[in-house]
Symmetry: C2
Subunit: 338 residues, 2 copies
Amino acid sequence: MNRVVLDAVGGDHAPDEALAGVAQALARGEVTPAQVLLTGPVDLVRAGMQKQGLPADIEVLDAPDLLTCEDSPTDAMRKKARNSIAIGIQAVKTGRAGAFVSAGSTGTVVAAATLGLGCLEGIRRPAIGAIIEGEKNPFLVLDVGANPQPKPHHLAQYALMGSAYYGGTFGIAEPRVGILNIGSEELKGNPLVREARQLMKQLPIKFHGNVEGVEVFHGDCHVIVTDGFTGNVLLKVSEGVAEYLLRATFGMMKQVGIPGEQVKKVQAGVMPRVDFSEYGGALLLGVQGVVTICHGRSRAPAFANAIRFAMRAMTAEVNQHIVQAARSITLPTAEPNP
Amino acid sequence: MNRVVLDAVGGDHAPDEALAGVAQALARGEVTPAQVLLTGPVDLVRAGMQKQGLPADIEVLDAPDLLTCEDSPTDAMRKKARNSIAIGIQAVKTGRAGAFVSAGSTGTVVAAATLGLGCLEGIRRPAIGAIIEGEKNPFLVLDVGANPQPKPHHLAQYALMGSAYYGGTFGIAEPRVGILNIGSEELKGNPLVREARQLMKQLPIKFHGNVEGVEVFHGDCHVIVTDGFTGNVLLKVSEGVAEYLLRATFGMMKQVGIPGEQVKKVQAGVMPRVDFSEYGGALLLGVQGVVTICHGRSRAPAFANAIRFAMRAMTAEVNQHIVQAARSITLPTAEPNP
């Protein structure tokens, strides 16, 4: 059975918003109580469940060691071994659940999942993917920060993983996959991009070629492959620009005398689009299990979305597709497994 | 005397908008007719000047070979040697003007300027800087595309050049200079950024350390240093996000029943901020002369702005300051001059 284990105490607004997200997912019929597991200090979690009116038969895995922002990934694993992230990953490793969802520290989730679950067969390095709502379609950008200095064959693997993930969760047979570049011509960019492009052409994916920065948000390309440094800048700069411009726009609306009530309606319609990293959570692709990382400031709808996407990824057997696709390509053997 | 030579036939709306920009700059007293030189096919330019009511005593340097979008930089230089960009750069080289402004092909301007003018003493590679209007201050991002694979000491030189340029044109004694990174901690990022950071700490600049993507548009840092690949993605993605979100916002405004007239007022106030690369034009820093590259779709105000910034850069003797600052640092001698 496909089960999701949720970190009930990860994120700025945990446990309330995390558990409210579970309530939303249950109400929408996206999961059943038996498909949900929770981690966190058991008393805290039980109290929060009662507050949100969650069924009492949802299982809670006790994780008494509460993490704070000050805990580095190393501290979390060494000094607070029974934290909610470690216990959640453990539940995936032992097969009690197929997916883990957390709004805790990205670094800690990545470290715990990579070490605890290991990479999928044929995959050398996991990547963090972010699903963003574009103008025509949602699109997946990867990597947004797991590996700031990848090699060309890592990017090729990102393309395979992204294609399998997007196809499975959005029900698109052949997602268009592009590589982020600084021009449309074949020879543009740096050696990393040029070599990765040559590898991607040989993959069993619908390869679109270069995608320029200005095209990303059109959503024509479903999957955008880039290194973890550039991807992180892309994601974070987008959020910064969006916040800045919308603040300016709402200020201008008030200035020209538009009533506050109407300004609020417009805000309510537009603001959810701005939390780019919140839309579907970020995914850690390439590990043995489904791991979704929500933004630290996630509210209930973001948690509900993340649970939905995690369920879809399991149902669509995304990881099996990644492994199959990875078997179809030959990658350099020189690099030792990380 | 400080003179600007303007490419009258570069850009999507040339020569009309380019020449209208000259008219605006003259009207505002930012240049005198004697401080302006124009390049382009002489008859075409003279006709355009008359249309815009420009003084007939403005000098026109004949450049009969009209470039099209199809001309690569190599084609432009070889097959159409008497094009407006080549003639304009020539005027700077021979000292007839101190600055060149063009909305023609970036690649052709960079190639013509780098080969024609050469690098400043102590500078190994030129960088393209873009001035963007941020929330608190305008900020300068460099490099946005001249060199997609720089070395750490190139980034250090960008920091020096950016500081001198920003200080001179905006009258800020010690601009804050930051390096774009994917976290605030010292060890974040990739080796390029980490090594460049160490070099920058030793420079005679006000070094702020890491700047994350989400902070860029705050405008707290006046100068943001990054490699040409990431910088180009930053600039282009910002434009894409801005267009997408503002379209969505204006659509939503109409949807909630805000009268078209008020929507237009808000658009008029906000839209000029979206053309990030248009605000002050892009600068080619590090060559012997002032070279400003306007966006291809520039209209008169953008040309007028570019002329103003070019005049300021000459008056502030930005290049002399760059050379002085470059003398204060020792850079690796291994690399042959490009």
